[in-house]
């Protein structure tokens, strides 16, 4: 049996499941300080004979195995979680192999395997929420290189009527700094879910389309999935479709109907934990192959 965790800023989803990706049992736990949340997580998994755990976590996280802080949640505004050694904590509790990925990588993998990108070779999952982040699947595997991508921090051309300075602590006006939930609130002085100003949503769609165009030109994904709190504003989808079409039509071989290309998630709250389960499977197989070799 395999264990999977999607660790989010507001809640943890924990699940156990089989190698085919089916979730057998799942629970949700509010994200409190680690001292309260983690014991609940551990208690849940104690009930099952788990052989490996996949963790898809909020971050930024350190996934570089050579780094002294591998397996840590690094900087985060969430109280208590800065420098939390997530992998080490779970290893100490269960002594099984652990695979550590970002929350968006988990969602990308889950949606690719069982959701909106099923049957495709590649996909991009983007969340537009408290921050902006993205994970990519290429040829059925998470895109990796030096590290995982940091697509939420690309720069974009400013909307000509926008004078908001941006809120990203690193770059100020990268795409996250200009278009995540807090940017909407900072610019218009109203919480994003209460905002009904046409100009505001036009500008939001402009920025998201700008970012998508960069992602498409560089990665050329077969499917783009957009989730996160801000994307609950469903009217953003048609706006984004027409802007992306305008910018790329005739230049990049886009699918005829962008409504089938840039889409909402299908797995909802289970995308991340499903991806985490697949990563648990992968690391267990690696361990078995390694042991066989010896």
């Amino acid at each position: 049996m395999l264990g999977a965790i999607e660790a989010g800023g507001t809640k943890f989803v924990c699940a156990v499941g089989q190698k085919d990706g089916r979730l057998v049992e799942r629970i949700q736990i509010n994200t409190d300080i680690p001292e309260r949340t983690i014991p609940e997580v551990i208690a849940f998994f104690r009930e099952f004979p788990i052989q490996a755990i996949g963790i898809a976590s909020f971050g930024p996280i350190d996934i570089n195995k050579e780094s002294p802080t591998y397996g840590y949640i690094k900087s985060t505004p969430k109280p208590g979680w800065i420098n939390f050694p997530f992998v080490q904590t779970m290893e100490n509790a269960f002594h099984v192999p652990i695979h550590f990925i970002t929350d968006v990588d988990g969602a990308a993998l889950g949606e690719w395997a069982y959701g909106a990108a099923k049957g495709h070779n590649s996909c991009l999952y983007i969340t537009v929420g408290t921050g902006i982040g993205a994970g990519a699947v290429v040829d059925g595997k998470l895109l990796r290189g030096l590290s995982h991508p940091e697509m939420g921090h690309i720069s974009v051309r400013r909307h000509p009527e926008d004078s908001y300075e941006g809120f990203c602590p690193y770059h100020r006006d990268c795409i996250e700094g200009l278009a995540a939930g807090p940017a909407i609130e900072g610019r218009w002085g109203v919480k994003a879910d209460m905002l009904h100003h046409e100009k505001a949503w036009e500008m939001e769609a402009y920025y998201l389309a700008e970012a998508l165009v960069q992602y498409i030109l560089i990665l050329s994904p077969e499917k783009i999935i957009m989730g996160g709190g801000v994307m609950k504003q469903k009217h953003l989808f048609p706006r984004i479709h027409s802007l992306v079409k305008e910018k790329l039509e005739g230049f990049v071989p886009l699918p005829d109907k962008l409504v089938h290309y840039i889409v909402p998630p299908q797995l909802g709250d289970d995308a991340g934990v499903t991806g985490a389960l697949l990563m648990a499977k992968q690391i267990l197989e690696k361990k078995k192959a390694y042991e066989k070799q010896k």
Copy 2:
């Protein structure tokens, strides 16, 4: 035996070689109109018992097998080559499987297999010449999705002192429109190889670094190789290194020494044709696997 072509705007490199990527014999042919160039290409390959051909071509080219213009060079200022059915022409002459990729994809693959990115999992090859283009290898394979990437046409933030309008016929001031050879000439009124104006090269490095930062945030390649006519200005490398470092240090886990991360090509004129040879090998293997299955 395998055939390989790197079709460039000024010259064709044709070679035959073995499955290990070694070139056994090679020639160069000036790029004239197809009626003069192609017969020379065909005559060269006639001397060898070739079983497959890889073509890495200037473009834009159509690599979408479902498209009615698959295998064509599409729009190009080169006289005679617009809508040239490259794959079909070679198929008619040799009746062997043909693999058709972009020139930069060929170079990326060649440098990954035998050149500057040897031993790495991924790399990005960028040419800065008459245009800007890039090819990426991810997990030992060319990055593909909807199509090949079009990284030369991403948008970048303008240098605050730049008022040049850009020359890209599609986007005017995308990175190609602002930083390829003709942009340098258009902005400063001097051919790029004769230009000794400090401010000009500072601006060029600024734009190239802006583009690299986007590529790194989205793709996270393990190695970046920069070639093409403009990169013969070797002083661009240290300028780019320090700008990229400034923009990403502490945020992305860059290698310590960018001088080993962002590098010139190692295979010179043979990168593209070497990549093409590897693609010839791949398509031959595919054909054999397919025939076995039947």
